[in-house]
């Protein structure tokens, strides 16, 4: 019972450490001296050297790595070079937009995808299945920013239900904030739902051909009840895997949607930081995203054991 989670957690920790080394090294290799960038091209060599010393950039590599990771553990990410505020404040501000957005989008995509997958699998080859999967195909193919523009046109410009962009902040009231996240969440969710529905359908179809489905039918359980009681849970493992990957994407890969809707999210923060060579921000956000992805994947792994008793107690 303990072995499987313990092993997964150990693997997650090791991955995290390795990832931090990679992130740290990558940004060491990237050309561009932060001190020089902060001071501008006119600064003298002494001034630059002095700032480097202040920022601790002249310390040995290993020491800087330990200093950085030690800071990470205390949620001290350092100071942004360009904004001269603690990185954690910048990140927290952006997280307040990106995290709810990702969660709403994931929830929407799951709520849409699972019923569609169930419906299609139970009517495999029928008209309903063909229409649903054709639509899903379209959903996979159409880029989400195009969806976003259509949604803005329909719901913001034409119907005036929600604002076309921007984010008033949570202080403006939960209702208003959620309203401005509704369209971006939908735009993000639809293509993901299309992928998830296809995965759910094919996983269900595979499960429906298993012998134990026939055993259940031979007990006299009607087809639909068999689908819910026996097939769905067995088809959950591939679905959970895809959901884990999607969450990581929804959190960090949303830069285009953030731009379309003028949302102050994490994606835009990284993008700006890269442009301005604000390497400490880049480093911290990348590390944070890596950590989130690893934790989500860990949760997915642990949820496998909840779904599948054969994994419990196995390394």
């Amino acid at each position: 019972m303990i072995a499987y989670p313990a092993r997964r957690i150990a693997i997650a920790i090791v991955t995290l450490v390795l990832a931090s080394i990679v992130v740290f090294t990558m940004l060491e290799i990237v050309p561009g001296d932060p001190a020089r960038i902060m001071l501008g091209m006119n600064a003298s060599a002494e001034q630059v050297a002095q700032l480097r010393h202040q920022m601790g950039l002249d310390a040995p590599l290993l020491l800087r790595y330990l200093h950085w990771t030690g800071g990470l553990l205390k949620l001290d990410f350092g100071q942004s070079y360009t904004y001269s505020v603690p990185v954690i404040d910048l990140v927290a501000e952006r997280m307040a937009v990106s995290l709810p957005l990702a969660l709403i989008a994931l929830a929407l995509s799951t709520i849409i995808a699972i019923p569609v997958g169930l419906y299609s699998a139970s009517r495999r080859g029928g008209t309903g299945d063909t229409i649903a999967m054709g639509t899903a195909q379209l959903g996979v193919a159409v880029p989400n920013f195009w969806f976003a523009l259509l949604l803005i046109y329909l719901f913001a410009v034409w119907l005036h239900w929600v604002p076309a962009g921007g984010f008033p902040g949570w202080d403006a009231g939960i209702g208003l904030a959620l309203k401005s996240l509704a369209l971006p969440a939908l735009a993000l969710a639809l293509p993901q739902a299309a992928i998830l529905a296809r995965v759910a359908r094919s996983a269900l179809i595979e499960v429906l051909s298993e012998d134990y489905i026939r055993t259940a039918r031979a007990k006299g359980i009607p087809r639909r009840a068999v689908l819910w009681r026996h097939a769905l849970r067995n088809a959950m493992i591939p679905v959970l895997t895809i959901m884990g990957l999607q969450f990581a994407f929804l959190l960090a890969g949303t830069i285009i949607i953030e731009n379309v809707f003028y949302l102050p999210g994490l994606g835009r923060l990284v993008f700006q930081a890269i442009n301005q060579r604000d390497l400490i921000v880049v480093k911290s956000v990348v590390m944070l995203l890596v950590a989130i992805v690893i934790v989500v994947n860990l949760l997915v792994d642990l949820s496998y054991a909840l779904v599948d008793p054969r994994l419990r107690g196995r390394p």
Binding site: T215, R217, K219
Partner: protein
């Protein structure tokens, strides 16, 4: 009046006729055997009664169960009959249970569904049923999951599910084919007891004439979707009025002609020497970094085989036969002990040093469907072992060698350009034999090579193997739980039990006078058509 009455049943799937004018009846308390080779329509007859036919199936005729016309019954009413009036047991116990639900849930599910019983009531009944099929509460609580049970135990759960509501008719489709002989006897006994207890009708589907003879009151012989012969079991099988019935009976008792065993006339240098071979598997983890007692799959096994000798390795499932075979084939490393093949020690070699040994020994496996890549042509599949040769053969050489190998197993050169799915099960097993002999090996390890085949095809493959043994002098290590096969084709037998070889000697000697308990159990459980028929003749006069 009959419980199940099938009149003039025909079944088409798409345009393809599957069943033609079938008549079968089963009375309460009666066991009816349905016999036929694969593809004869046995299973589809069963699925017609259950109305669980695949998409595109079209039936005509009349099937009544307790007076209810099943073909005219809609799906909703059919759900009320399934499980309640008619239950079904399937062939493959390893996959017949939902891996994510406990056995208690799975047995109770039907009871709750049909009787609207509460969870507690249903579980109480499920408990009684599991006790009845031989899974007592102390060792098999309702909270067990299927993966914690062995094949035989799982089949008991499937039977408990099928019989939970005391159906009037039970359909058992090859219920013991996937089990070893000792388990087979236990499961068949259980089915027979359940029939007598509840006056249940049983439709027993099997390709094994001996099993059917032993179990059934009446028998129906099916071939290509038609009933060839039907009647009282003893009468039908002893008179063998229809030539096909005779052919079936003969094929199941077939013993290939083996003129002189090459082992007896040639030299006595050992081909294979196995010394104190042991294989431990780490026990399952009990805590972080701590393992339970290691599992000893093969325990201090020593034996040797002569060139051209055909040896059977028999034992119940899980006794370590396959682990031993894998080590001999150098597919698994022993924990201790050595294996010498043609005076070369193979247990300490690295993979690239094993080429010579691998060329000298090849394998044939049980499942002729699973052992080929469906996207490769036969030429490529059969010539696969040729990379073991010292010098890579040219294209034409490969083709010639493949043609020769195919000729040896009775196939023609044009077969080389086909794909595996174009062959029948027996032909595919010929292909895997061709693949095994293409490097001219001295030893072939055959793991249940005929147990997935129909009796008439089994007879042909046994003939082929016997022929290759005497012509090419290939030695066989024949892994099987089927003593009829061992008797037919081997010179001597090793009986394996719990990782050890407990008895070894001449085949006839051991099968006629087994000494060890393990060997006696195997011999007693082995279905034997002669014996079964004699007993049936006495019973049915």
């Amino acid at each position: 009046m009959s419980l199940l009455e099938i009149d003039n049943l025909s079944l088409n799937i798409g345009d393809q006729p599957i069943l033609k004018d079938i008549d079968i009846s089963v009375a309460p308390g009666e066991i009816m055997g349905l016999v036929g080779e694969s593809g004869s329509g046995k299973s589809l007859t069963a699925l017609t009664i259950m109305q669980l036919l695949p998409f595109g199936a079209h039936t005509t005729g009349r099937v009544t169960l307790g007076g209810i016309d099943i073909l005219a019954t809609d799906e909703e009413r059919m759900c009320l009959l399934r499980g309640k009036e008619v239950g079904m047991v399937f062939q493959e116990p390893m996959t017949a249970l939902n891996p994510l639900k406990t056995i208690g849930e799975q047995v109770a599910e039907g009871i709750r569904w049909h009787n609207r019983a509460s969870r507690a009531e249903a579980e109480e009944q499920a408990r009684i049923m599991l006790d009845r099929v031989g899974l007592p509460a102390e060792k098999f609580p309702l909270s067990r999951y299927p993966h914690e049970l062995s094949g035989g135990q799982r089949q008991r759960v499937v039977i408990a599910i099928a019989c939970a509501l005391k159906p009037k008719l039970l359909i058992a489709d090859e219920p013991t084919t996937a089990l070893d002989v000792v388990l087979q006897v236990q499961i068949l006994d259980l089915l027979r007891d359940l029939v007598t207890e509840n006056r249940m009708g049983l439709l027993l589907i099997s390709h094994d004439l001996a099993v059917v003879t032993e179990m059934t009151d009446r028998i129906t012989i099916l071939r290509r979707g038609e009933v060839l012969e039907a009647g009282k079991t003893a009468e039908t099988l002893s008179r063998q009025r229809h030539p096909y019935t005779r052919q079936l009976a003969q094929a199941s008792m077939h013993v290939p002609q083996r003129p002189v065993s090459p082992a007896q006339e040639k030299n006595h240098t050992p081909l294979l020497v196995v010394e104190s071979l042991t294989r431990d598997y780490p026990g399952s983890r009990t805590a972080w970094l701590r393992h339970g007692e290691p599992l000893r799959a093969v325990d201090n096994v020593s034996f040797s085989m002569l060139a051209g000798q055909s040896t059977a390795l028999v034992g119940r499932s899980g006794c370590g036969k396959s682990t031993l075979a894998r080590m001999i084939l150098a597919l698994d490393r022993p924990s201790a002990g050595t294996i010498r093949f043609r005076d070369e020690t193979i247990t300490d070699k690295r993979e690239h040093e094993l080429k010579l040994a691998r060329r000298g020994m090849q394998a044939v496996f049980q499942d002729p469907y699973g052992s080929f890549d469906p996207r490769q042509k036969v030429e490529r599949l059969v010539t696969e072992p040729l990379h073991l040769l010292e010098k890579a053969p040219s294209r034409t050489e490969r083709r010639n060698m493949a043609e020769d190998a195919l000729a040896e197993v009775g196939l023609i050169p044009s077969d080389l350009d086909k794909y595996p799915h174009e062959f029948s099960g027996g032909q595919r097993q010929r292909l895997s034999i061709a693949r095994a002999i293409i490097t001219r090996p001295k030893l072939v390890v055959a793991d249940e090579p005929v147990s997935a085949l129909d009796v008439s095809i089994r007879a042909q493959i046994l003939d082929l193997l016997a022929d290759l043994n005497s012509r090419l002098g290939i030695a066989y290590l024949f892994i099987t739980h089927d003593l009829t096969v061992a008797r037919a084709i081997t010179d001597d037998v090793m009986v394996m039990h719990a990782g050890r070889i407990v008895e070894r000697g001449a085949t006839k000697e051991i099968l006629d006078h087994p000494q060890s308990e393990a060997a006696q159990a195997l011999v007693a459980a082995a279905p034997d058509l002669h014996r079964a028929l004699a007993r049936k003749l006495q019973e049915q006069g």
